[in-house]
């Protein structure tokens, strides 16, 4: 039985460190290669020794696919390719390829320069790793080798995020990466055609959430920011450098312009400028509005947003600061948070998901006293707000995608186990497909029944379709032919040709059956009666009375011989080849019923 095997090395019933191994029809593909935010030890990278203990990874993997540039999806890539060792192709979209190294470099700097870790990948390794990357376009089918092909679909989420379809023969798997089904201020919605894959591997970050309309969210967000600024408070918005940051920037920028506000907006990271440059370039990946208006003004050229300097944090008066990283677990956002936490006029807005163990997660779950490094206790007086701005599909969005793609089974990753459980139940109930949610290291196997293509000679096809009624595409049709399996290929040919090819003589198989009929009359009279009888019944067939006293029904021969002992009983010999089995047996059963009484 052909099967597809899926093993998450990361992101199985978990968020972070996305890394999923898929074996499909003998091909092994690794989907994403991320790091985990919550850990600083070995657990931050997927356990690549699972793939092989001592051999080269290249021998075991046919390709690696990176869905988008977030570190939890590509953070382990240089480690994997340079330190563990992988030389095969790595696929990602053009924007991902452009932005990914900036983030990796930033990540490396924080880990090595700030935390002083050794045995970490170097800048050169990032560069070497990126050399192995093959960039793909949307909807471009890339042949990895003769059998394996991949194709990217738009996924929303962040610039350049893509869903990938992996196909070998008629078996296929779709991996969604992270995606967003509702368009936002700078990206469109994820879209996939009805590709009916055998398996859809979907993220499920918001498996139990159905979000409000985005306009309400935006309005709430702007209102909160505006109120705080008018009060003279400071607003801290922890973001990851890329993705939501740009979304919120566009939102605030247009709002500031409209309301003519003067309070400064700062953006904390130097790398943003570089990344914004790419946002300006990859206009085709953004939403309809930006694509249509960039000729007049590129929306990513901000007027109100300036670069942040560390000294600004102590300035009096209102301000809005975007600071990285987004979960308040380290870096500048944490520093600013410490400074401002004590004042109840200030506000922190968490625009997205926070992994367990981070400061962000703690304050959101209501902790007001935090233990910082060095046993300090930090009291949080500032307002803590949560606005779901992360560009993941909500429960309804996930269902919508499943409906669009119509997969034969679904596998959930990148989410919390409890929430997945709920969604799994829903999917099974509403689509009547199997749904899996393996944990890390757990292998899910599903059996497929792939179609096996067989070549048929045109002559045979035409001949066979000519027989019988009009072809009806929806119904299976019975055909006679010989299946030849040779050199790993299948061919359906006519028997004659098969014989010729195999150099065999043709044997005819004939069935002959005797039918006893009680009839006192002479032979030829009886034959005539039989002939008339058959002619009366088998109107659609050609029934012939041959001069030698036998009857031909199509190719079936009926002959009458007199029984020597009993003059009253005549014996009919019915003879047919095995091709005419159907008609032949019908005839004999017909004849066995006897002839109708004649009216003389």
């Amino acid at each position: 039985m052909p099967e597809i095997k899926v093993t998450p090395l990361g992101a199985g019933q978990d968020v972070g460190r996305s890394c999923i191994l898929v074996s499909i029809a003998g091909k092994n593909v690794m989907l994403d290669c991320g790091m985990h935010m919550g850990y600083n030890d070995d657990r931050r990278f997927p356990d690549f020794s699972y793939i092989t203990q001592n051999g080269r990874l290249t021998d075991f993997l046919d390709c690696v696919i990176i869905s988008h540039f977030h570190l939890d999806h590509c953070g382990a890539l240089p480690y994997f390719s340079e330190m563990v060792g992988y030389d095969g192709p790595i696929y990602m979209t053009h924007p991902t390829k452009a932005i990914c190294p900036i983030l990796l470099e930033d990540y490396r700097k924080i880990t090595v320069d700030k935390k002083g870790e050794t045995n970490f990948f170097t800048s050169q390794m990032i560069k070497d790793c990126m050399k192995k990357v093959v960039a793909v376009h949307l909807h471009q089918t890339v042949q990895v080798d003769d059998e394996l092909e991949i194709k990217a679909y738009y996924a929303g989420h962040v610039l350049g995020a893509a869903m990938f379809q992996i196909r070998v023969g008629s078996e296929s798997v779709v991996y969604t990466g992270d995606y967003n089904m509702t368009p936002d201020r700078h990206l469109g919605a994820a879209w996939i055609d009805k590709c009916r894959p055998d398996l859809l591997i979907s993220e499920s970050t918001y498996a139990t959430t159905i979000r409000d309309s985005k306009r309400c969210r935006e309005r709430d967000f702007l209102k909160k920011v505006h109120e705080t600024v008018e009060r003279g408070g400071k607003v801290l918005i922890p973001v990851f450098a890329l993705g939501r940051a740009q979304e919120l920037c566009i939102l605030l920028e247009t709002f500031w312009e409209r309301m003519n506000l003067k309070a400064p907006i700062y953006f904390s990271m130097g790398l943003t400028e570089k990344a914004n440059h790419y946002y300006k370039l990859f206009i085709t990946w953004t939403n309809q509005k930006i694509r249509k208006t960039f000729v007049q003004r590129n929306m990513f050229e901000f007027k109100h947003i300036k670069a942040f300097d560390r000294a600004f944090a102590d300035n009096p008066g209102p301000m809005v600061v975007f600071a990285t990283p987004g979960m308040l677990h380290a870096g500048q956002s944490l520093q600013i948070f410490r400074k401002w936490a004590g004042n109840e006029k200030n506000m922190v807005i968490m625009p997205g998901y926070c992994v367990q163990g981070t400061v962000g997660h703690k304050i959101l779950s209501g902790q007001r006293k935090l233990e910082m490094e060095g046993r300090q206790i930090l009291e949080v007086k500032m307002q803590v707000e949560y606005m779901s701005f992360s560009a993941h599909a909500d429960a309804k969005g996930i269902m919508q995608l499943i409906r669009q793609a119509e997969p034969r089974s679904v596998l959930l990753v990148h989410g919390e186990a409890k929430k997945m459980e709920f969604l799994k139940q829903k999917i099974e109930q509403e689509f009547h497909v199997n749904c899996y949610m393996p944990a890390n290291g757990e292998t899910t196997t599903l059996f497929t029944s792939p179609n096996i293509p067989v070549d048929i000679s045109l002559g045979l096809l035409k001949r066979e379709t000519a027989i019988g009624l009009v072809p009806d595409s929806k119904k299976p049709k019975l055909m006679h032919g010989t299946l030849i399996m040779k050199d790993n290929s299948f061919r359906l040919v006519s028997p004659e040709q098969a014989l010729k090819e195999l150099g065999l003589g043709e044997h005819q198989l004939r069935f002959t059956c005797r039918v006893h009929i009680q009839d006192p009359r002479k032979e030829h009279e009886m034959v005539l009666r039989v002939y008339n009888h058959l002619k009366g019944i088998l109107k659609d067939y050609s029934v012939q009375h041959l001069p030698d006293g036998s009857i031909m029904v199509e190719s079936i021969l009926i002959q009458a011989t007199a029984q020597s002992e009993d003059q009253g009983t005549k014996v009919l010999l019915v003879s047919w080849t095995y091709q005419d089995e159907e008609l032949g047996s019908y005839l004999t059963s017909l004849l066995k019923k006897g002839l109708p009484p004649t009216t003389t």
């Binding site: 368009p183 009805k194 306009r215 935006e218 247009t254 919508q400 509403e430």
Partner: protein, 970 residues
């Protein structure tokens, strides 16, 4: 007429004989070409050596039209070649030509139908087959009245439905859709049997393997519906299955079909699959179409969103679900109220995404009640309004508008969503939602926070948006006095930011004030900044913001008698001033102790006949009785009346159109009388060369005036057109007489005479039905004298004309019901700037032009912009059709850019910009009555009866723009 003329000419002048011969020859030629068309084609096709050649010939042939009578011959020849031809592409072209030919007007294609059907039999190529079926469709469309033909074609179509090519099947289905019998309950039973068959046949192809055929089948079904055949309800379930088709065009068509069925059988009951409950069909269809609003293809989404708007029979709770995304109830349980309440409760499991951790799993819930996909209508509009494509969003807003108009409770609910849409990133969407809001505004009252969002849009940089918003505020209900204050503050802010919005803002405040007098009342002291003890300084009367405040207050005071007590002295003075200067914005108020302001148009006296209307009638009657007066007093009376009418037009804006129109007519008459009173007529010809300047100028002026009368007024009816044309005819006669007297020699007169007689002839033809009304008029007499005129020499004819013109009576101008003069005001450029617009000579500068047009019909084709340079050079600019907007009935707005360029000037100078109304006398109402033949050949045969005079009428004041083209720097 022309024949008479020719005869006469023939008698007198031998020269002209040749001319006639020439004409005869040309006529012969024409006759020769007719049969040659098919013959030439035949020869050409025989000559063709290769299929490519033959194709070329056919293509050339297709460019020329064929007369109805020779179509059949051509068809025969084509068919002959068709049978001989081996190349499929040539056969295809022939087949398509057959279709084109059978469309020829006046040709009945039944004679070629048999041949066309016969050709089908031996055809092997699928493409040619499809084309032939298309031809049959054309033939069938021309012969829809003939049931036998239809039956025959249907048979053919059904036969070829089994073809393996999708193109052929497509065409067959199309044929069935267009020709399937519609007569229901016809006399014979067989007829109804066929009716049933048609739907079944088409229905069978809903499952065709080819998506193109599937969509063609649905379209054929829709076609049947359009032709009036009642579709059977059984199709509904089939159509529902098609909604999940793989191909978007099928889904899109299926959505339409479902919509049609839901309109046909709204009340029938359908079962819900997987349960044993039933709901109304329209509700079910509504749910299904709502579902399609989240389809993968945006084409389908647009289609679905559009159709939702017209499903007004849907139950209200389904309707309200469309705005609710969190309510996860499924259709099945919707029937009982307590179950619904329970579901509402259990759906709380979902997190809103606004608060962290509110999605922590609570107690185990009945998951069966929570349905993520099949809930259909749930949140359809929420999805539609935040769709990625603005086309979908606009469609959703439109649908929302239509549904809200029919359901007040829904209107109340959708308000929040509409207000949200005011912040959409695409301007068109914002505009559309503002318009939508205006349309439903009588159903709603804005809350303060909603008003806040609405007013924020006033700062939008787009003028269209701001003006749409002003219109919206005109008819909005505001609930609190804070709301009014907020609106006023924001509008004033808008005024300072965009001073050009002045008029629009004042108008907006006028309505805001008159709608909410009680809310304005407590604000008055603050707004007027009056103080109980101290006198405050008198505000500047010319300040637009102050005027805006006053407009609001005065309009509120109209229905609130206590308000004037709060006014200070200068307010009353300002009232008197504004009432005079901005009478359309400031209503009459009954102010205590100030009778001079309130009395004149107080509502106490309301006679049925408006006095000014009466006055107008009296004026005109006075004039029409004037035959019996002596010429001198006639002139005086006319002059007085014209003056009266003009003044009336200025005073009474609603009568302006009528007054101006009548005045223009009287002016024409006055000019005519004056011209005829000239002494010159008694003087011998050579002596009055100088004096006649007046007469010919009068003739010219009358012509101009008549064109203005005909084209500048909307609402002119046929009666008036006749009178105007009659006046023009008189002017032409005058012109002819004057020329006859001044020019020496007779030869140039011939042409003029002939022309004039042709004019009279065409006048008679155009207005034959109106002639009885024109007793004793110029034309009436002229027609009596026609035989004499035709046979007499030009000099005599002129004499006859002169006497007729002098004897003829003044024709009464019947007044139309509604008549409006086309006017235009250029708002921008304002023409006040002292700073010249500088640009480098040889390059181009763009000048923004903004103008309002009133009562202009079809402005896209008639309104032009004219630029006059100081050197007398004039430039005519045709604005793009997209530059015209239509903010209200009879009103248009032209916002365009014109490009100026000139060689270098030494100093800045002013150019003039004005709007012109272009007209073409061929397009006039008179000529539309002439039958127009479609073929070019026939048009050539008949010379245009009335040569089209094209001209322009300036209808706006010209605005001066200071410009300075600088020499280019080297």
């Amino acid at each position: 007429m022309a024949a008479h003329l020719k005869k006469r000419v023939y008698e007198e002048f031998t020269k002209v004989v040749q001319q006639q011969q020439h004409e005869e020859i040309s006529a012969k030629k024409l006759r020769l070409t007719k049969p040659s068309k098919s013959a030439a084609l035949h020869v050409d096709l025989c000559k063709a050596t290769s299929p490519a050649d033959a194709l070329q010939y056919l293509l050339q042939f297709a460019r020329k039209p064929v007369e109805a009578e020779s179509v059949e011959g051509v068809v025969r020849i084509l068919l002959e070649h068709y049978y001989k031809e081996n190349d499929a592409s040539v056969r295809l072209k022939i087949a398509s030509l057959l279709g084109l030919l059978s469309k020829t007007a006046g040709f009945s294609p039944d004679c070629i139908m048999d041949d066309a059907i016969n050709t089908l039999q031996n055809e092997k190529s699928h493409q040619v087959l499809a084309q032939l079926l298309d031809t049959l469709l054309v033939i069938g469309m021309k012969l829809t009245e003939n049931p036998a033909v239809r039956m025959r074609l249907l048979d053919v179509a059904c036969k070829y439905l089994t073809d393996s090519s999708h193109g052929v099947r497509n065409k067959c289905l199309q044929l069935i859709g267009y020709l399937g019998s519609v007569e229901k309950g016809a006399t014979k039973e067989t007829e109804s049997l066929v009716t049933k068959d048609v739907q079944k046949i088409i229905g069978d192809h809903f499952n065709d393997q080819d998506p193109r055929v599937r969509s063609a089948a649905i379209k054929a079904m829709l076609q049947l519906h359009e032709r009036g055949l009642k579709l059977q309800q059984t199709i509904y379930s089939q159509a529902c299955k098609l909604l999940s088709d793989d191909y978007e065009q099928v889904r899109s068509a299926a959505v339409q079909l479902i919509w049609v069925l839901s309109q046909l059988y709204p009340e029938s009951i359908v079962p819900i699959p997987s349960s044993n409950e039933e709901i109304r069909l329209v509700d079910d269809a509504f749910g299904k179409i709502c579902h399609m609003v989240s389809d993968g293809s945006w084409v389908v989404r647009v289609q679905a969103a559009k159709l939702l708007g017209s499903m007004q029979q849907v139950s209200s709770h389904f309707l309200e679900q469309t705005l609710d995304k969190k309510l996860m109830s499924d259709l099945r349980r919707k029937r009982t109220a307590h179950e619904r309440a329970k579901e509402l409760y259990s759906s709380g499991e979902f997190s809103s995404g606004r608060k962290w951790g509110d999605d922590a799993p609570k107690e185990e819930v009945d998951t069966g009640a929570v349905n993520l996909i099949e809930s259909g209508a749930c949140g359809a509009f929420v999805h539609g309004l935040e769709d990625e494509m603005y086309e979908v969003r606009i469609a959703a807003v439109e649908a929302l508008c239509m549904l809200a108009q029919s359901s007040p409770s829904f209107a109340e609910k959708c308000l929040d969503f509409l207000v949200d849409m005011f912040n959409d990133e695409i301007e068109e969407v914002r505009l559309q939602s503002i318009h939508t809001m205006r349309k439903i505004s009588n159903n709603i009252t804005l809350r303060e926070d909603q008003l806040d969002t609405v007013l924020a849009v006033l700062e939008d940089s787009s003028r269209d948006i701001r003006e749409a918003l002003h219109e919206l505020l005109c008819c909005t209900n505001v609930s609190t006095k804070e709301g009014i204050h907020l609106a006023l503050v924001e509008l004033l802010k808008n005024l300072t930011k965009y001073p050009t919005d002045r008029e629009s803002i004042w108008k907006c405040l006028k309505f805001l004030g008159s709608r909410h007098p009680t809310l304005v009342l407590p604000l008055v002291p603050e707004l007027l900044s009056t103080h109980p003890f101290f006198d405050t300084p008198e505000p500047d009367m010319d300040d637009p913001a102050y005027i805006a405040v006053l407009v609001l207050i005065f309009n509120a005071a109209k229905t609130c008698p206590t308000m004037p007590a709060l006014f200070s002295d200068h307010t009353f003075r300002h009232y008197a001033y504004l009432r005079d200067s901005l009478s359309h914005l400031v209503p009459p108020l009954r102010l205590p102790g100030r009778k001079l302001v309130s009395s004149p148009v107080s509502p106490s006296v309301t006679p049925h006949e408006d006095p000014s209307q009466q006055f107008l009638q009296q004026c005109l009657e006075r004039v029409y009785n004037l035959q019996h007066l002596d010429p001198q007093s006639t002139q005086e009376l006319l002059e007085f009346t014209i003056r009266d009418l003009q003044r009336l037009g200025e005073l009474q804006s609603e009568l302006a159109g009528v007054a101006d129109f009548s005045a223009a007519y009287l002016r024409c008459q006055l000019l005519l009388i004056k011209a005829l009173q000239e002494k010159l007529w008694n003087v011998a010809a050579p002596l009055y060369l100088k004096q006649n300047a007046l007469a010919s100028a009068a003739a010219k002026q009358i012509m101009e005036e008549t064109y203005k009368m005909e084209f500048m007024y909307s609402g002119v009816e046929n009666r008036q057109v006749v009178t105007i044309h009659h006046m023009r005819l008189q002017a032409k006669a005058l012109q002819l007489i004057v020329t006859a007297r001044t020019t020496r020699g007779v030869e140039p007169l011939f042409g003029m005479c002939e022309n004039f007689l042709q004019e009279v002839d065409s006048f008679q033809r155009c207005f034959i039905s109106e002639l009885p009304h024109m007793q004793d008029s110029f034309v009436d007499k002229l027609l009596d004298l026609m035989p004499r005129l035709v046979t007499s020499k030009p000099s005599e004819a002129v004499k006859i004309l002169q006497t007729t013109l002098r004897q003829s009576t003044f024709l009464h101008l019947p007044l139309p019901e509604q008549i409006h003069k086309a006017t235009a005001t250029i708002i921008e450029p304002a023409g006040e700037s002292d700073n010249p617009l500088r640009f480098t000579s040889g390059l181009v500068v763009a000048l923004d032009v903004d103008a309002t047009l009133e009562h202009v019909q079809d402005p896209q084709s008639t309104v032009k912009v004219q630029v006059l340079y100081p050197d007398g050079q004039a430039q005519l600019i045709h604005p793009k059709p997209a530059d015209f907007r239509n903010p209200g009935p009879g009103r248009h707005r032209l916002i365009t850019q014109i490009y100026l360029s000139h060689t270098a000037w030494t100093e800045p100078c002013q150019i003039e910009v004005r709007l012109l109304l272009a007209y073409n006398s061929n397009r006039s109402k008179a000529s539309t009555r002439l039958s127009k033949s479609t073929w070019i050949d026939s048009m050539e045969a008949v010379p245009p009866s009335e040569y089209g005079i094209e001209g322009t009428i300036p209808f706006s004041k010209s605005v001066k723009v200071y410009i300075m083209p600088k020499p280019a720097r080297r």
